[in-house]
Amino acid sequence: MASGNSRSGLDKFGRPLVVVTGLGVVTSLGAGKAENWARLTAGQSGIRAITRFPTDGLKTRIAGTIDFLAPQSSTAALAESLADLVAEEAIAESGLGTSGNFPGPLFLAVPPIEIEWTQRIEVGSRSGSNDKTTYAELIRVAPQFPDYHQRFMFGSVADHLAEKFGTQGSPISLSTACASGASAIHLGVEAIRRGETDAALCIGTDGSVNPEALVRFSLLSALSTSNDNPQAASRPFSKNRDGFVMAEGAGALVLESYDSAIARGARIIGILEGCGEMTDAFHRTRSSPDGKPIIGCIANAIRDAGLTPDDIDYVNAHGTSTPENDKMEYLGVSTVLGERATTVPISSNKSMIGHTLSAAGAVEAVFSLLTLNNQRIPPTINHDIPDPAILMDVVPNKARDARVTHAISNSFGFGGQNVSLVMGLEPA
């Protein structure tokens, strides 16, 4: 390759430029980019009453469940089937590799995998205990359920994907709580920048709507209890927001070095320009009141992209609809954007699809890239009562055409996890 060409494949810092050549997505709105984008820009909600299990006695009875696929026996199995679907879509679009042989590593954001009540009760019932049932009884009969070993290994979803799609090396399963999807992309970007690989498959997946997972968030008072009108329950940046709505989904990105994509004539969907992170040591579930870690995270991502805050013209918000997150995100975004904070559009996909947890960073990166490609911004729906303390253009209720050249997507999670990604279009 001529030296002129290889120069163009480097970013402002002399690192291999990372581009996106394939996308896949599934949410409660549907499977695939076309259906999701159509419904997202139509301002439709995928939130509904939970029918997967009885909700008697639960404070929250709504979620963004994925019910249009074959029912699965566990979060692990559902997360796996969602990841399958989006990996298939993203790899097909990229045209990279051959069937069952993807030429790069896998970075998978996946919910913590654990045996659930369906299986625990099944094993308990096999124990035949007439008296108190303890783990001693379960352990005694455990070897009668050999399949449960592999199913409930943390690495099982990634292992399945590595085998099916033929990714290279040891697949990474990771969690940074609700920032996991963004961290998966960040790890892929870093691997390509190191020159270790020309491509990476980055996936975030989550299928966690089961009774105990719902109760866990409920007991932390994190969930919306607007059960009577599910589609209006997720109200990011609204004055009357009352918590997030749990949801399922998956997003996949095929990342590739610019040189690799150009050499094989692939269509470049967008550029993964920068990644930033900064940990918050203030509290397990709450942000530092001064917002410094969020501010630092957003600023780090913009700096890593070789841009300045003035270059950002769309913010894909974490926007969970909890009182705490949206307030702190506003503080972070407005501090970094300065005077432009009131005019740069910011919208939350979660107003329609809910919070897809481990998948959110990846799902919302896919939507950010679709926003760039379509030059159209999906709205923040259910924005009827603006929070007077949040002075931003949240693209209320209706999608809008706009010129978007550099978008930033935020992801924040329990445990002080903050990750931001900056994405852009290939310069003409």
């Binding site: 690192r15 913590p112 045996i115 009760i121 205990s129 050999p146 990771l174 397990r284 445990g415």
Partner: protein, 403 residues
Amino acid sequence: MADAPREVWITGIGIVSCLGEGGDAHWQKLMAAKPSGNSSLFPPFIVHPIAPINFDTQIPKKGDQRQMDSWQRIGTYAAGLALDSAGAKGNPELLSRMDMIVAAGGGERDLNVDSVILTGTPQAANPAAFLNEKLMGDLRPTLFLAQLSNLLAGNISIVHGVTGSSRTFMGEESSGVDAVRIAHSRIAAGQSDIALVGGAQNGERPDQLMLYEFAGNCLKEPFKSVWERGETGGGFALGSLGAFLVIEAREHAEKRGAKPLARLTAVLSDRSNRKPGAATATLSRLWDKLKDKVKAGHAAVLSGASGAKAATAEERAFLEAQVLAANGDLAVRATGSYLGHGIEPQFPMNLALAVVALGHGQLFPPSDASGLETPMSASLDQVLVTGVGHWRGEGLALVERVG
């Protein structure tokens, strides 16, 4: 990147297990060569319970301790030891740009609540409603924060102030290997200067015994060293342990005046599908990338073999056919005989024990009646560390004496 890879040093270790706390306690027990396990906690299964720890010395606030379950306390404690060892404790400037990768499993259960639900379900008029009622009413709200995989890292940030970045890898043994591999790659490539990497497990958990006993993996009495378990079906004994390393670029360490405990020369990992022979073949391919660096005579192997039948047999075949064949009488030690199997943190623990052995310039005695482990009297300059997952994941690392 065009620049040559940077040299990576290990400048801090923090370890705690059934053998005690810190390098000296571990060395004394390993030199005594009397591995044993505990079969009274969960008979007939053998586990390796954590030695008594005064958590207050690394986690001063009782409120922080209360927010954690055992695995998080063990890990946060070990992380503090590692930061102390690296001279990084209480240095906000350094900690604010220190990266962190934690290898973690899942959280602990409220065993009483689980038992109440399991016992009551068969009699419940509406089992689903009974489940919801018990979960809503009986689970303590903060239990979730003791369960989330990434909350060991979260607690380390809160207690010790490590805030450069925080990532948690999951996936059993592989997560420990890959946590070190990625942290090492980032430093070598200039993406990071210094990182805290490791993990923790509480092995005294009946729900974990159930999980691994689904595959019949749990070691039952009588206790044997890991190499001697194959004839009786194999198996591993869960071990409670925490292990963290501080690794950093040589130039970064020199600039701040930190001494190298050892050089982390290479960390490699891969995944085979574990058809017969596959793990041996994968380990052999990884070894091909390292073998020219290993010099016979002053090198040894610290094996992470768990005792799981097929995995340990494949690792042994690899060691015998490749490593021992090429390096004559190179000595092998399986630390799992002493520590039990820590799953996620096992590989970081063995890297730390390699550092301890290199610090003493010698290897500890064999403890294996099967004949694989042989005495070594020569001085020790290099340690090959293996990490072969009980069902997936193969890893190798080379740790070397500096100077």
